[in-house]
Symmetry: C2
DNA sequence: CGGCCTTTCCACCTTTCGGACGATGCGGCG
DNA sequence: CGCCGCATCGTCCGAAAGGTGGAAAGGCCG
């Protein structure tokens, strides 16, 4: 019997996952939670499971912004509690997937996956195998081919502000550097992304999920 | 007994909605579908329901792009089949909400709404009442207050290209007008949105879901 | 240690944008 | 009919952004 923990901030989705899991003869839901903190608290308090299903987007919409992201939670669960994490999320942007995989997620599925695929993935995850959905694999490959992610931390920071619509001057003031530096970073960004302008860089960044 | 039809392309979410509905003593699921075409075919083929729960985002992720959007489906169901539609979707951008409300949706809920709220909304919708989730109401108000959507069709077209990273020159060539015209539109856009630059306008446009 | 990358900055120059005018023609509306 | 909003073009000018070509300081790694 596979013990499954559900961690998703959408009650409806949680109910759906529960329905799928309960519909399988060889698995059951042992805990259900809507926040990452809850999940870690339960695991820290003696709870144990064979696999954790979690949504990468925790507290994304509400005004009480990100307290604990899904990626961090994944890392903690995998490393501290030695429990495989199967990430089940709605929108699989490249950045999300990469973050999850880097955090040590055992699998990554989109919510529009059929229920049989989900059940199969849970069994694989419980067995310790790494499984990525077909969609996800395609996206990962596409990402690898594209010349992405060479950006340094600073450059990414600049890019984020550019995408937010700030001017070079505003960015310079915000980062406590000179305008020349911002322009320099931006020049590198444009080179690395193969773009011609700040706006195009912002568009490409969004497309690739680097926001 | 309230007869409910589920229309959502995510099997997991569908299972969740079914679990919620089946958990209520006064309602039941009479049909379940993953595409808008299916939904319309079922209704057209003699099926009837007291309320339709549907996801605005149909066929959004896959490569086989949008065939029939949730908004169009909503309009058809409401007007042709005189059946109330309760939109239940993940991300409630202003544009989505507006589209749904304009299409005649009876209600609009985010998927992170608690199950009781969902059940209440279904009852209200079946009774013909218009109900918007608390989150949604807040967003709509915020939208109304903000000086948005005064943009003309042409301006919006320009804005879209700007957000895609095109230069004025490229936009001019793409729209078969002169650069002066593009600049003129952009000037109006910046005035209407209260922005200072193309990049900022693009950022604001994304934030407000005008993409 | 000597490259290599990152981050910071500079100067000079060209291109692009944005603001501030104005002008035309078109279509709707009272 | 005049007025207004929209779309289309124009000019002039200053500001912002981007390209080129540097340079210096610090970190990392073989």
């Amino acid at each position: 019997m596979i013990d499954v923990v559900l961690a998703d901030d959408h009650p409806v989705v949680r109910a759906g996952l529960r329905a799928v899991v309960d519909g399988q003869p060889d698995m059951r839901v042992v805990h259900e939670t809507g926040t990452a903190e809850d999940l870690l608290a339960w695991l820290g308090g003696g709870g144990r499971a064979d696999v954790v299903l979690l949504d990468l987007r925790f507290g994304d919409a509400g005004p009480g912004r990100s307290r604990l992201g899904g990626a961090e939670a994944t890392g903690t669960v995998v490393h501290r509690h030695a429990t495989p994490v199967l990430v089940v999320t709605t929108y699989g942007t490249d950045a999300d997937i990469l973050a999850a995989v880097e955090a040590g997620a055992t699998g990554y599925l989109l919510k529009d996956a059929p229920t049989e695929e989900l059940a199969r993935a849970i069994r694989s995850a419980a067995a310790g195998e790494v499984i990525l959905g077909a969609d996800v694999q395609r996206r990962l490959l596409g990402r690898m081919r594209s010349p992405g992610e060479n950006l340094s931390a600073r450059e990414l920071e600049v890019l984020r502000l550019v995408a937010a619509g700030r001017s070079n001057d505003a960015i310079a003031r915000e980062l406590f550097v000179s305008v020349a530096t911002v322009k320099s970073h931006l020049a590198h960004i444009n080179t690395k992304l193969g773009t011609q302008s700040r706006t195009e860089a912002a568009a490409v960044a969004r497309e690739r999920g680097m926001l």
